[in-house]
Amino acid sequence: MEELSKHFLNNNRRHFLKKLGLGIGGLAAASLLDPFSSIVEAEGSPLAGMNLPHFAPKAKRVIYLFQSGGPSQLDLFDHKPLLNKMRGQELPDSVRKGQRLTGMTSGQANFPLVGGNFKFKQYGESRAWVSELMPYTSKIVDELCFVKSMHTEAINHDPAITFFQTGSQQPGRPSIGSWFSYGLGSLNNNLPTFTVLLSRGTGRPFSQPLYSRLWGNGFLSSLHQGVQFRSGKDPVLYLKDPEGMSRQERRKMLDHISELNHKQEEEFGDPEINSRIAQYEMAYRMQTSVPGTMNIEDEPEHIIQMYGANATVPGTYAANCLLARRLVERDVRFVQLYHMGWDQHENLPTQIAGQSKDVDQATAALIMDLKQRGLLEDTLVVWGGEFGRTNYSQGTLTDTNYGRDHHPKCFTMFMAGGGVKPGFTYGETDDFGYNIVKDPMHVHDLQATMMHLMGVDHTKFTHKHQGRRYRLTDVSGHVVHDVLA
């Protein structure tokens, strides 16, 4: 048993894939050129030819803090004094340039400009502008690389978030985490390669839904599916043994299963059987390693305080940030967080205050915590939503209240660690915060850049499926070298 386990523990990526995921016996022999071997099925072979990573990676792990709903860049990071000056005045046609609007405001008679109700100040040596909604983030701006010039094609949530996560607006393709799991494999032996954490915003607890298909493996093997870590009794689905079963009893059962399976293997000679035995061992290890990762009792008080009181409340964004650190500390390759509630069509000032309070302290804490542990240098942290919000008010603009519709033409994201330039701002928008005037970064550019940081050439990392080579960045995307450290 031990030997087998060792065998399985072999960190070699291809070996891992072969043993775990591919389920085709003796697959090494199935080359691209075996005309009978379907390209889809001989998944290992095209990958084997890709020599991943393509070059030395700057980042080994990613924490992607997805802010679902579309945070308002104008109230958080993209400071536009002109909008305050022109508050209530009509958005000039010369600025809008016929840009298509969502059905939610296309019928509006007026498009009154609105600056934020929140005060902006410059911080750090980098003199980055941050609004008062993000007091903790403002203290760490010199660690961050802001991108003010993100843009996307999608103007609605489902296609926009699917675009960020899969490179396509229409569902069905693998998630970005699945791509990394597939291409780069696992760094550890006890935890899934691609994990997912969800939290609900207090600013707008019920706004936009999420979809588990966002972390789906698409046409890749289900081995690359994102594994959701949940708060509650069963942190990973089906992880918990039935009530009353002791660990010893489970161990005993697995040993029996393995012995009987070996007997089958001797008779049938099917290499899949050994692979299955190995998976049961991994499952057994996960039963210990997952709760161990989730259990934050060993975190000292000052760390908890750093993330905020909510860090001890399972299922909150703060708790998930702390968990994200524990996951990358255990060499989980890709941690995908989602924080819901950033869809401020109305009552923006109240809602965004709640949303910001949810994420500000914990995000900053996560980055600094990674830094103090030496993990930030090879962990890439990404913060942002699926699009931005309009510079004009949706609904009636009053002295204290306004809302904002979706705006795909410019929005702000930030990154930290993992080979990006700290204390840097990339891209610029016009004085109206409506159009990009310098250095645009498309969704596919961001994906290409993330891949680059992980040592992957996004144009070369493809997967052949049903007659076509697919990549995360579809047919476009450029690495934005200016943001690289």
Binding site: S31, I39, G172, F206, M253, Q466
Partner: protein, 787 residues
Amino acid sequence: MSEKNKSKSAKWFLYFIVPFLLVLLFKYISKDKNEGYNSLSSTSENNYDTAEMKVPENVDYIFDVKPILSDRCYLCHGPDEGTREAGLRLDIKENAYAAIGKELDRHAIIPGDTINSQMVYRINNPDVEKRMPPLTSNLSLTDYERKVLTKWIQQGAVWKDHWAFVPPVKSDIPKVSNSELVANKIDNFILKTLEQKGLKPSKKASKEKLIRRVSFDLTGLPPSIDALDSFLNDNSADAYEKVVDKLLASKAYGERMSANWLDIARYADTHGYQDDLERVMWPWRDWVISAFNRNLPYNDFIEWQLAGDLLPDASLEQILATGFNRNHKITQEGGVIDEEYRVEYVLDRANTTSKALLGLTMECAQCHDHKYDPISQREYYSFYGFFNHVDEKGLIGYDEIPEPNITITQKEIEEALSFVNMPDSIKEAKPMVMRDNKAQRKTYILNRGAYDAPTDEVQLAAPEMVAPFEGRYERNRLGLAKWLFSEENSLTARVAVNRMWQQIFGVGIVSSSADFGNQGALPSHPELLDWLAITFKEEGWDMKKMMKRMVLSNTYQQTSKTNEKLLEIDPNNTYLARNSRDKLTAEMIRDNALSVSGLLVEKVGGPSVKPYQPPGIWEETTSGQGLTKYFMDTGGNQYRRSLYTFWKRTVPPPAMMTFDAAGRDLCTVERQKTSTPLQALVMLNDPVLIEAAQVLALNTIKEGEAKTDEQRIEHIFRKLTSRTPDPEEKEKLLSFLKNAEQEYNEKEAQNINELIKANRSIKAEKLYGLSVLTSLVFNLDEAIVKA
């Protein structure tokens, strides 16, 4: 290396270098000049070793050359005019041999002339600036591939058309030496190839394993102990055939066939975007099950689904069948642009139809001419046009039932739709169907596939390279359906029999069952595929008959045992010297557990059901609108076959997704086949499987026939593997059972206490121990694979 060696002793030089040089010289003299270029092999970026692959004696264009051209060259020298380089097009014969270059003084391919053929010169060129494919393409050729292309030209560069676009031909049944191994004609083809490959077929599988395999393949369920015993005791010559007939006649057959069809049809119970509201398409699903069980001929099966509404005097059933093309996702997300999504639905229909029925990935031509197959963007939108006339909206409201639809009440059911299983609690169902609007929408080519970038108007038409359409068929969906089943159509029958083969043998004769185009796999047994395709047509598209033929073949009845040598020669079991040893599908995993424990409720059809799923799955992602909370069904609906499990597209049933079920976002012809640790967790801990184990244990004790522990173990083992455990296995399980009984802890084993309370006559630790033992047997590899 030689630099280093020179400094060593002269002796070394004499012994090693001189002979080496001599060999090189000899090679140079004796072989074609171009061979000299082959020293390039080390530059290949592929790190798998193809050096050992032997270049075939007679290089075949279709099997050896075209896969390389298609995969590495068509990108710039293929059907897409937009990206064509140097005016060279390699997918069409005339162009491939034509003169190129400014002066028209060069040729890529000159049959027999490796010296002047530019292809040989460019692919073997040591100068990276000149070498093809260029570095920038991220593509490269292996040493083997270069040799194949070179040798093909050397041997005269004989051209053949892509096999799939040439109508099938019924060849003679091959004669084989060991005719005693022939149960039907399938075997002749398989045995012939095995002989050619120097492989021997395997022995027959044991009767236990045979009935297990065929039961799962045809019905998705395990054989009952009774069925098993009666087959084991039946020594008549047609014992197996009787089993097969019974399975084909069972209702479960239609359910099993439907599970695959629902993947293809991307069937779901919700609309699929954002808040993902519920829809009612299950009456269509009930029709599918009924059509399979009635053995509706495949041509009708397809014609009704594509164009039932356009048939003369269309019956309500035929109209209901068109729901096939309304199973795509529909958005209700406030603010989307209606036309953008309407176009998306039309694209989905066109793509699904071509993938499912023609085995063509036409969607590539959505944005540009197809890079690999001869489908232009114009042809794509001509095909798209068939589905562009539906009287529908792109954006629907939250309470809206999308048009067009039909209303089904008890009245319709009594009169025309007896197969729809509508409970009395439901007054009416309104499934979506196809209906074209009278004012026919014009169809345009959409530049880069964008809804707001129409260019030229096109007329509806089907791709000519598959079969002639112009002037023969009406320009509507019915015309398309007729065209699909025309004599000349080279794909429809092949694609259909290939998919049946995939269901029965695990992998299709064309292993890429969704892609018969240039990028797809080649048929492993081309003559057999054609023979099956033509036979299928000749027999009136009789699906049951075809399925029966496949399972009655000796090829199918072989054991799945393999050995290292066989694995080495034929790792993917392409040649079928044995049967495959496939895992149960997502549906079968759960259905098997329900079936063996006796929990399964064998009711056919009706509204989808909500069995157990871990709490919180829907709740944690919802926006508070639509299907916000998962209310588990009570009573019998918890134990229906997995085919009926409610499918919420944005949050599909997690255990099924873990076992490679298709997500139902898009048409899926072939599921992934993977094994993962998460699957192990489901097998060990899913409360559904735990409950099934407990109930099976309870029934085993209660039934009373098995009195001793040993007999009980034997009974449970048989139920789950269809065979009797050998003494060693029994002993292992017995010792485990004894231990498990001692492990029983009343306080902790909460989940079994209710069962224990309800069965006071049984000792608690007995029931507990046997339940844990049953769970163990559930997890044996043998219980997770078919046979």
